[in-house]
Amino acid sequence: MTARLHLDEGTTSVSAALAVHNITHRYGPGGPAVVNGVTFEVARGELVSLVGPSGCGKTTLMKTISGLMQPTSGTVTAFGRPISGVPRELAIVFQDYSRSLFPWLRVRANVSFGLSGLGLERSERRTRVAESLAAVGLTGHEHKYPWELSGGMQQRVAIARALAYRPRILLMDEPFASVDAQTRAELEDLTLAVHREFGMTILFVTHDIDESVYLSHRVVVLKRSPGEVHAERVVDLPETRDQITTKADPRFVAQRAEVAGLIRDAALGSTRFSLHPTE
């Protein structure tokens, strides 16, 4: 997979699906910078993990990248076009599925919700919903309410909703933070399968080091107060991954340790002020 191209300030690579340039965000004027001068890129078809401790500004960054929130300064471009407002080619899976699914809609309606703004034909909507539900293994649960499902299944509904939208970029904000370990492993593999099958670009936010290395082509490490990019590492692992063999692979173990070290460094060095900590 593509390794990161080094870029001069202000230029964006043509191949980049998503280019985040010097994003700073403060909540309210005069507030502290929650996100500070973050710059990175995600190439087409790449799966990048954004990893950092809780409260380091990952969700804030996600919201500015997706166009849900206007950053205080900095720009985001998707396929070369600057983002203002959520672009059509982008979909989001939120951190808390119990808050992002509509409790008054059944599973099918929740999944087709995202399509209601697209002006699709009824039959097209149906096919897309059925396909997406099949892709996440939820066929047969169309007529249930989300709250009748387990946490893992609810997050599958949220993923299916994003898939039905056919985005070219998928943002996932700590999507598996509140499910049990077994379900989490299943959902990680689902993410990999979906990435393979639908050929999307995925930006995956997590605070879990294993998850970040296991899933992605590249890991961007954030540090806290203010949220800045501390380091980036290309993950050197075979394209196909497996919960048991990959995680036992010495390369995985070594890289996980390296990312863990970076995060610890970031935490220790967080008092040190640095404008360009990126390697």
Binding site: R88, A91, R99, S100, F102, P103, S116, Y145, E148
Partner: protein, 272 residues
């Protein structure tokens, strides 16, 4: 389980539910028969009078009398029209104003003030401005019904989970559709609570609006019978109003239960 035990249990539940009503009715009957006070007719007499007045019509008219058509129907129609109108305004304004957190400081004080206006005090005002006609009565009822709905809609819209709104924005749903697809259903349980309060208020305002300068309606019937000392008629009207209030509330609850079943399942708590 045997059929006998099953019916026994159902009978017990029925006694618990309605036993006291029956007992109180019986007590009322005994006391009024004993007392022989002209102001307190027996419930049996009241029931008979209600039948005479309103429910002794021909089968072709569904057993209702001409009195029912002149006293009850217009009253209920006005109450429901005003309620629906006020409810719609309250919901629409509440959804829009509740969406902007910044508006709260400006919106709440006037809303709270107008809500605190004792509604009967407004009757003469509406009478002066709009005159004694049906338009005035419906406007009055609508005006009164706006506030409980508005207040509940405002508070509920403000409390809508921000992630739900973000979801709407993320999938490119336009703002007007977001009101209909997200804010409205999310706020529906509280809106329903406001509508229920307003329904009671609509009946009160209906009676009040018919106290002045009208020849028909249940409120007018009530006050006329009081002024002419038709004690039995007055009691019949009171009972009729009680019956209407009870039935309307029952109908509303049934509708609410149907439409908002998801809320009970989602939160595991009964509706507010």
């Amino acid at each position: 389980m045997s059929l006998l035990r099953l019916t026994g249990r159902a009978a017990r539940a029925l006694v618990v539910k309605l036993g006291l009503v029956v007992a109180l009715l019986a007590l009322w009957q005994v006391l009024t028969v004993e007392a022989q006070n002209i102001f307190f007719p027996t419930p049996a007499d009241i029931a008979v009078r209600m039948r005479e007045l309103w429910f002794s019509g021909p089968a072709a008219h569904l057993f209702v009398t001409g009195g029912f058509t002149t006293d009850v129907v217009p009253s209920v129609a006005r109450a429901l029209a005003g309620w629906a109108l006020g409810g719609l305004v309250g919901i629409a304004v509440g959804l829009v104003a509740g969406r902007w957190a910044r508006a709260q400081g400006y919106v709440d004080p006037p809303v709270n003030f107008i809500r605190s206006l004792p509604k009967p005090a407004i009757v003469p005002l509406f009478l002066i401005v709009l005159g004694a006609n049906d338009r005035m009565r419906i406007a009055l009822i609508a005006f009164g019904c706006i506030w409980p709905v508005l207040l509940n809609t405002l508070q509920a819209t403000r409390a809508v989970e921000p992630t739900l709104r973000d979801t709407g924005t993320a999938f490119g749903i336009s703002l007007p559709r977001q009101f209909a697809m997200i804010s409205l259903p999310a706020a529906a349980p509280r809106i329903a609570a406001g509508l229920r309060v307003s329904l009671g208020l609509a009946l009160i305002l209906m009676v009040l609006s018919e106290w002045s300068l009208t020849q028909h309606g249940l409120g007018n019937f009530l006050l006329t019978s009081q002024r002419s000392y038709q004690v039995l008629d007055m009691w019949a009207a009171v009972a009729m109003l009680g019956l209407l209030g009870y039935l309307l509330n029952l109908a509303f609850l049934a509708l609410e239960k149907r439409l908002l079943a998801w809320h009970v399942g989602f939160t595991g708590t009964p509706l507010p």
